[in-house]
């Protein structure tokens, strides 16, 4: 491992005699470029606005049916200069991928290419109406169709539903298709099996679709216990929901075996594809017996997370489930073949019932996350089949590099289960006293890193799930490893300053208990 600074770069902080870094208080609470910002409602006014619109003609007649507003709404406005400053300051209180390493396991915080942002904003994509006559949106329908083709080829599966709005919505789509398929053959079932290590959306989704959820136990090495799973299969089991690679960062070696057993028992196999980025371009889930899998375009295909969304969760289907896919979907009408003007595209919606087949219906008002489709397709075209394979390989390489650079001092419960995939799981077993994963996470914040995912999955004590992604340089990884090792050492030595971390963030630790006990969820003028 190289030292992260082999050059003239000298970032080290000078430290006072007490080991602390000092500065005087300011009247504003600001610290140079770290600026405090009040709430909008504390600086805005009802009569202030950042737009110039015609004044209201109070005498104009209206046709509002007698329901015109009489009370103020309670909004306030800012002029444009104040608005830009308000949000610029707020933004500077955030960490993002653009700032630094963001190894949030399961979340795939990879670089968001700027070309994707640019192309998604072309008026031909951004400024078209979902119900525009289809002859005026052929290019948009073509993008949906092309992206669907890519997803089917990359997964080796014959069907795709494009409308789900995010991963959890995709899960719902897959589970509803399973349910519809069972219902169609007159064999409604009640139970869906889900591993303990699964993401919370899996059991929540199954329950929302009306299923009873039962746990699948795991083996010592962090994988599904195949024998126990097989033993549980039966006529009441509609299917399984398995994440592969799983949330411990391991490939489920026996996935094919499991799938065969589930199929044999009349069930279907749902694969949570949130971790598809570990294998994209190298392994096709269709070859493993999957019946339905959602793909988070906002993870594997790098559409930005945007501080919580939006995402996009298309679902690929096996032959068995494809007919039940939700409305609407795009179909291609091959053209006369005479050049580019050839093909045309149309939507299968409620109106063309014949083509709809046994579709279970509509999941959302329109056709899905077009803004994410354009970004994801741009990303795929940029990488190509070769680049996507390299994406998976580099992601896995980076995670293993971290695993092997840390395992000597940080508890890595599955270090002996073989290579990890795109993420690696650690635990806080060896920390001193009451120091825990939380303290380590906050210590990393001071070091300039976003912490890893903590306390998930639930199968390891003080879980720390580190997902570096492929868009990190070795120098970044090395710097992270150095910093992480130093914080781990502090945690193992019982360094109590860690309990107070972070010191340098816009806020010190926040009181979450009070927040939940006396929820204040909306601003009100102080008395």
């Amino acid at each position: 491992m190289n030292a992260p600074n082999k050059s003239g770069w000298k970032p080290a902080m000078e430290v006072a005699e007490d080991g602390m870094h000092n500065g005087p208080a300011t009247t504003t609470g600001n610290r140079a470029l770290m600026l405090e910002e009040p709430l909008l409602f504390e600086i805005g006014h009802a009569e202030t606005t950042g737009v110039d619109l015609p004044e209201i003609d109070e005498n104009a007649p209206n046709r509002l049916g007698g329901f015109e507003r009489s009370e103020p709404i309670g909004l306030v406005g800012l002029t444009e200069p104040e608005t830009v400053r308000h949000y610029t300051r707020l933004s500077r209180q955030n960490y993002g991928i653009d700032l630094g390493f963001f190894p949030l396991g399961s979340c795939t915080m990879k670089h968001n290419p700027r070309l994707n942002e640019k192309l998604a904003r072309l008026p031909g994509f951004a400024d078209i109406h979902p119900l525009a006559p289809q002859q005026t949106v052929q290019g948009a329908l073509q993008v949906i169709e092309e992206l669907g083709e890519w997803l089917m080829k990359l997964t080796g599966m014959p069907g795709v539903a494009m409308s789900p709005k995010a991963g959890a919505h995709g899960e719902l789509c897959g589970i509803l298709a399973i349910r519809a398929a069972h219902v169609a053959r007159g064999d409604a079932r009640e139970v869906v099996l889900v591993p303990e290590s699964a993401h919370g959306t899996n059991p929540a989704t199954a329950a929302f679709a009306g299923y009873r959820v039962e746990d699948i136990p795991a083996t010592e090495e962090g994988r599904v216990d195949v024998e126990k799973l097989k033993a549980r299969l039966g006529p009441d089991v509609a299917g399984v929901m398995i994440t592969n690679p799983n949330t411990c960062g391991l490939f489920e070696k026996d996935f094919r075996t499991i799938a065969d057993a589930v199929h044999e028992a009349g069930g279907y196999v749902y694969c949570d594809g949130a971790n598809f980025n570990a294998i994209v371009g190298r392994v096709r889930p269709g070859d493993l017996g999957v019946d339905a899998m959602h793909i988070n375009l906002h993870k594997t295909f790098s559409t930005p997370h945007g501080g919580g969304g939006p995402g996009s969760g298309p679902v690929v289907f096996s032959e068995a489930l494809a007919p039940f896919a939700p409305l609407p979907f795009v179909k291609k009408e091959p053209g006369s073949g005479s050049g580019s003007g050839g093909d045309s595209y149309y939507l299968v919606e409620e109106e063309n019932r014949e083509e709809r087949g046994p579709s279970f219906g509509r999941m959302t008002a329109f056709h899905g996350q077009m803004g994410m489709f354009t970004r994801a397709l741009t990303y795929m075209l940029s990488h190509g089949a070769d680049g996507l394979k390299q994406v998976a390989e580099d992601a896995v390489l980076n995670a293993n590099y971290i695993l092997r650079s840390m395992e000597d001092i940080l508890h890595a419960p599955f270090a002996d289960s073989g290579p990890c995939m795109h993420e690696v799981l650690f635990g806080d077993r060896d920390f001193e006293g009451d120091l825990s994963t939380l303290d380590l996470a906050k210590g990393l914040i001071d070091e300039g890193f976003h912490p890893m995912t903590v306390y998930f999955p639930l199968v390891v004590h003080g879980a720390m799930l580190v997902e570096p992604t492929e868009t990190e340089s070795k120098a970044n990884l090395d710097q992270f490893i150095t910093a992480l090792r130093s914080v781990v050492e502090r945690a193992k030595a019982g360094d109590q300053t860690l309990r107070q971390a972070p010191y340098y963030a816009p806020r010190r630790r926040l009181d979450e208990t009070t927040a939940a006990r006396k929820p204040k969820l909306s601003w009100t003028e102080e008395a």
Partner: protein, 457 residues
């Protein structure tokens, strides 16, 4: 490759550290059957920016952008002017490339924004608390129905006939699986909403009544009547709004007694985007319902030094804590769209939103008057905000819309498309007018309609 920082030297150094001979060693756990022998067939290889840009631009060029034609489409998605500042803000890397704010000390930007957003939505809707967004109006509508069944422990939802048909479809899709009972209907082609008919359908088993305001035909109705009727039967009123700008001119649903107010926020800051990503808004009038709400909530608290700060809170409602007992399975929501809404609404403010609403209504009235003059065209509505229904002579409206498009006019949404096969609705055309609509646009639509209706009458 431009997005992959590892060099070949890095790769071999790292493999060595790991103790692997080649990258294949790290994929040993993949069974033989699923091992491929190279890049997946049938897909192109990597490409530079220029060529990808050409590919995508060729597709964009095949679409008729709303800005390039007289434009009158609505029906749940509206074209409004979005100030340039909105896009500048949402492209700040610190907002764009952040995750859900699970580490609040370094996510105060997103969190404070969400707190402001929640406050704006709650006030606009006349409610106590709004959440941090859902996917879109239609899924918000379904979440509201689901929540109403949880709160009332009843299983029947009564949908107004003039609820957006796609919203109704989403609710019905879910109900197929959850066993809830959905009572719905088609809209009646009448100048006013038939509230009595709706009220008559509420019974003691009804969990909620779902009413759109303004409705799919653009009509404005007296929600408080429905609220009273529902409450009398122990049912809840879910009000659905697909055009938030309308609430700059109309009484809020909360004020009129709706219990849950949900809707689409796309009009403010988000844009058309062919239907997504959009912005699901969800609010409750009574704070006692907060712990049954779906989705994330941001709340105020203090840090260890006593300074105000914000956190995600009440997460015991959510899937990542509560798993199969969660109030919803939603995880990723519409965060960045909420930011766009928040920024746009901040620029508008009370004054701007009211002016915007007034301008929309003024132009819509103008358009309605002008179009009513076209022979063979009638305006159905007694009341409307910025969208109304035309009854057309001649061919079905669906075909007229296509003919208009051939003439370069995006003339509206036909009810024939929204309610395929319902003959009574075949000649109805929904026309939306916003501040983006010019007098020339209205004139063009009037004269083109005149030609088309005459031709086929």
């Amino acid at each position: 490759m431009r997005y992959l920082p590892l060099t070949d030297t890095d790769r071999s150094e790292m493999l060595e550290k790991i103790g692997a001979k080649s990258i294949d060693d790290l994929f040993v756990d993949v069974p033989e059957v699923a091992q491929l022998d190279g890049p997946i067939h049938g897909l192109p290889m990597h490409a530079g920016e220029m060529s990808v840009e050409r590919h995508m631009k060729a597709r964009a060029a095949k679409n008729l952008a709303a800005g390039d034609a007289p434009f009158f489409l609505g029906a749940g998605a509206y074209r409004h002017h979005v100030p340039a500042t909105v896009d500048t803000v949402i492209q700040r890397g610190e907002f764009l490339t952040a995750y859900t704010p699970y580490q609040p000390e370094i996510a105060q930007g997103t969190l404070q924004m969400l707190f402001e957003f929640q406050t704006q939505v709650a006030r606009l809707y006349g409610c106590a608390v709004a959440n941090a967004s859902l996917y879109d109006g239609s899924t918000a509508c379904w979440e509201a129905v689901a929540m109403a069944t949880r709160v009332t422990k009843r299983k029947r939802a009564v949908l107004s006939g003039s609820l957006h048909p796609h919203y109704a479809e989403v609710v019905k899709t879910m109900a197929q699986f959850t066993g809830d009972e959905i009572a719905d209907a088609h809209p009646a082609i009448t100048p006013d909403v038939d509230l009595d008919g709706l009220i008559a359908r509420i019974d003691e088993d009804t969990a909620c009544v779902v009413v759109q305001y303004p409705d799919i035909l653009g009509r404005v109705c007296d929600l408080s009547k429905v609220a009273d009727a529902a409450h009398e039967k122990g049912a809840l009123l879910v009000a659905v709004n697909t055009e938030p700008v309308a609430l700059g001119a109309l009484k809020s649903p909360g004020e009129m007694g709706a219990d849950f107010v949900v809707g689409e926020g796309q009009s403010i800051g988000v844009g058309l985007q062919f239907g997504g990503p959009y912005l699901g808004l969800f609010a409750v009038r009574d704070p006692k319902h907060v712990r049954q709400m779906p989705g994330r909530l941001c709340g105020e608290t203090v840090d260890a030094e006593g300074r105000r700060g914000f956190v995600l809170t009440l997460s015991t409602r959510e899937q990542h804590i509560r798993r199969e007992k969660a109030t919803s399975n939603i995880c990723t929501n519409s965060g960045l769209c909420a930011l766009a809404f928040n920024v746009h609404m901040t620029l508008l403010g009370e004054k701007g939103l009211r002016e915007l609403a007034a301008e929309n209504h003024r132009l819509a009235c103008r358009a309605a008057d002008r179009l009513a003059q076209v022979p063979g065209v009638d305006v159905l509505n007694n009341s409307f905000f910025n969208e109304f229904t035309l009854m057309l002579g001649g061919k079905p409206a669906r075909e007229i819309v296509r003919d208009l498009a051939d003439r370069g006019v995006l003339g509206g949404v036909s009810l024939g498309r929204l309610y395929p096969g319902v003959e009574a609705l075949e000649h109805a055309l929904l026309v939306a007018v916003t501040e983006m609509t010019s007098e020339e646009d209205i004139e063009t639509l009037a004269s083109e309609l005149e030609t088309l209706v005459k031709e086929t009458a």
